[in-house]
Symmetry: C2
Subunit: 457 residues, 2 copies
């Protein structure tokens, strides 16, 4: 963590840099960029800068410094930055010894397939082999998340030998809280926590004190399962094995933290039709294009709702109060439904909601919807009846509200697992589908009830 | 990490437990609970169980086991579980040596003030003093997050002495990746990473190799700043000091991971009017009460929208097509606005958006809103004109859509920092306010334009 800096002094340095940038003192900016700020701070600075400033900053950075910043940038930004580089330049930048191998893999996975191959060809053999080993696993698995910098020891040596062996190293990899014990076949047989190594009599052998009861993470374990495991068991690092139990590498908490953050952000951003990997400061056209699709899909659902309203044109023509009140029913359904939807999406993501407790949750939600429907249905009924001096319209809107709230919470509970079972991301499609349902049902029930009531009158 | 278990075998054990529960084999369930499953797994199991099952499980647990599970439960559940215990029992449970002191503090902070005091009085002096030291800091600061189990050393001893000193310990605290170097006044002067201790010649002194360039976190640093620092600098632990630079304790990554998860979940849950600390499996009445308030607030905003529509009663009475089309304008504004709102809320939470780049973002968003308004405004105009064979209605809805989209993205960009400046949580109030704005503006502009157009005709 050399180069890490204090939060207070860090923000004061950032302010100084901003002042220098605004006054156009580029040589001063350049000095600060290359010598004062850490790579993490620079990454944050670039992520927080509009396109033009970002370009100026990047060009003021020394080549060597540029490469150390890459692991701190989002996918969108890395793609931007590497687009103008040749395969050799990318290979050069990513071969820098200050970058972890798993970060290099992350970077390569952002590039187009063809470019990745060129970059790999431009690397030296040892680097290429290590990277190809990780690249062979999907990005969202333990294999894609792991690093190959594991420190391994044999079970039959004494701790004294371990200590002397470690002392022969120049350095040991960051976030090494355990040494991995393997046998001759490279099979994982135990873990030696460094905290244990430090407090134990050096004449004891590794086998006597190594831990054997710990998570065996295989390379194909999904990354969100890995994150749940780290979070639940407070792990700092964990070894990854292949199907035969042979050691492949290890996962460290810093990469897991990224998974946790992205996973939680994913639900939030997807529900608004955004991508958590998108650059916040992307230029106008890129942003417009991405948002246009989402708005287009929602326009389609809005037209479906309008078509439903259109069915009742004659009723609306007779009773204008219906037009005034109808958005209430649809909007309350949308609100109640998205509460349930949000709860269930997060519950599934954190592993708290599964098939066996979903039924309980569904009946709880329907009861909650019914109770709140009765409460607010009554309130709306009274308010509407008083507003239009017409008790009939009160009964109609109150009933419609109750029905729509129950349908809303039912849909909100069921949609996520239904969508998941057909491999559609519930966070992305759930809210659009839910609004369509609550709009259609809301308008249909309200105007349908009104048509029935008023045609009898 | 003793007792941590493999992800695969863990889920098979959970299945076995569920089978035993369903078949009512309680003695078998009891054996599994108390001897096979880890505290973390039990915590997850309780969190994922409906109230009745949860009660059965809890009562089958041995007292000793109950206490180790507490740190793995959510706030809501801890409050439930401790409600029926006496202060002495809580003191007993929380004095268990297997619980970290910071977890005890978290638990005490959930209890009512009066109970906390009783529990503290029932503790032994040493425990009480350590806990009161942390309790004196707000929960959402570095002081409230820290633990007091720091291993400290003096700068002028050799590494050999350090190694011998450590060996005198029974164990060193979990997640100790650095030893903290303090002077005689207990002032923090450096850090000695254990990874460095292990590879360096033992005759060298601590002062020669200790790191001095690292984050100085003071006790009053907000917890989200701490989380950003850990995430940016890939820290595993960091010392906390008071204003004079004296060591108070240290923060470990496992607690920071909780902050990161809660922080990200907070935005998602608050935008739907939910609380991230709420128990997913809370009973019907508790859930209904919590949701009722949110629905009531939204009902109020829906009535405001209706009141706006009511202004144009006469126009609606003349042209029924307006009633059919008006939800489109409001809903598209809501969608576009909440995209911007979500982006800005996350950007502020992660520290990427500040006052100095908000202006750029605002103009980008307005341009994006304008471009998408032009695109979809044209599409809607053509569709509406064809549907009702009336070019006038096409022009009206197209214009209204453009205006509402621009207002929506402008509001979405500005609301979070405005709300923050008056100390209101943007994630909680932002979406309600935004929908009110996009509904009111959407209906007003569309029906207002229509009134102007059709009264001339």
């Amino acid at each position: 963590m050399a180069g890490a800096m204090g939060s207070t002094s860090s923000s004061s340095r950032m302010r100084a840099l901003n002042r220098a940038l605004e006054s156009g003192a580029l040589s001063q900016v350049s000095r600060m960029l290359n010598h004062t700020l850490s790579s993490a701070e620079l990454g944050h600075l670039l992520e927080s800068s509009p396109p033009h400033t970002r370009k100026v900053l990047w060009e003021l950075l020394e080549k060597k410094k540029q490469s150390t910043i890459l692991p701190f940038l989002g996918d969108d930004l890395i793609a931007d930055v590497l687009r103008d580089m040749s395969a050799e330049e990318v290979a050069d930048v990513t071969s820098d010894e200050d970058i972890d191998i798993d970060d290099v893999v992350d970077i390569l996975q952002i590039l187009p397939e063809r470019v990745t191959q060129d970059v790999l060809n431009a690397m030296d053999d040892q680097n290429r082999q290590r990277i190809e080993a990780i690249l062979s696993f999907p990005e969202d698995t333990a294999g894609g998340l792991m690093n190959t910098d594991t420190v391994t020891i044999r079970p039959d040596i004494t701790l004294d030998v371990v200590l002397r062996y470690l002392r022969r190293h120049e350095s040991i990899p960051a976030t090494t809280d355990t040494l991995v014990v393997v046998n001759r076949k490279d099979e994982l047989i135990g873990l030696l926590p460094i905290s244990k190594l430090l407090v134990t009599d050096p004449s004891i052998t590794v086998r006597e004190i190594m831990e054997t009861d710990f998570p065996r993470i295989t390379a194909d374990t999904p990354d969100d399962h890995v994150a749940q495991l780290f979070e639940r068991e407070d792990l700092v690092s964990a070894p990854v094995v292949d199907k035969e139990g042979r050691l492949l590498g290890r996962i460290t908490i810093d990469d897991v933290v990224d998974v946790i953050r992205e996973d939680a952000d994913h639900s939030l951003m997807s529900m608004a039709g955004l991508d958590e990997d998108d650059d916040i400061f992307a230029p106008v056209l890129k942003t417009s294009r991405r948002r246009a699709i989402w708005l287009g899909i929602n326009l389609l659902t809005a037209f479906i709702a309008s078509a439903v309203i259109g069915i009742f044109e004659q009723t609306l023509d007779k009773v204008v109060a219906l037009a005034i009140l109808m958005p209430i029913v649809a909007s309350m359904g949308g609100i109640a439904g998205s509460q349930t939807l949000t709860l269930v999406i997060r519950g599934i993501a954190t592993g708290h909601i599964r098939q066996n407790n979903l039924r309980w949750l569904l009946s709880r939600e329907v009861l909650v919807g019914l109770l709140n429907g009765l409460l607010w249905g009554l309130a709306v009924a009274v308010a509407a009846a008083l507003w239009f001096s017409d008790p009939k319209i009160g009964i109609i809107i109150g009933t419609a509200l109750i029905i729509n709230l129950v349908v809303a919470v039912f849909s909100g509970s069921m949609l996520p697992s239904l969508l998941k079972s057909i491999n559609i991301d519930p966070a992305l499609a759930g809210s659009v589908l839910l609004t369509t349902i609550t709009d259609v049902v809301g308008y249909f029930v309200f105007l349908g009830l009104a048509t029935a009531f008023y045609s009898f009158a």
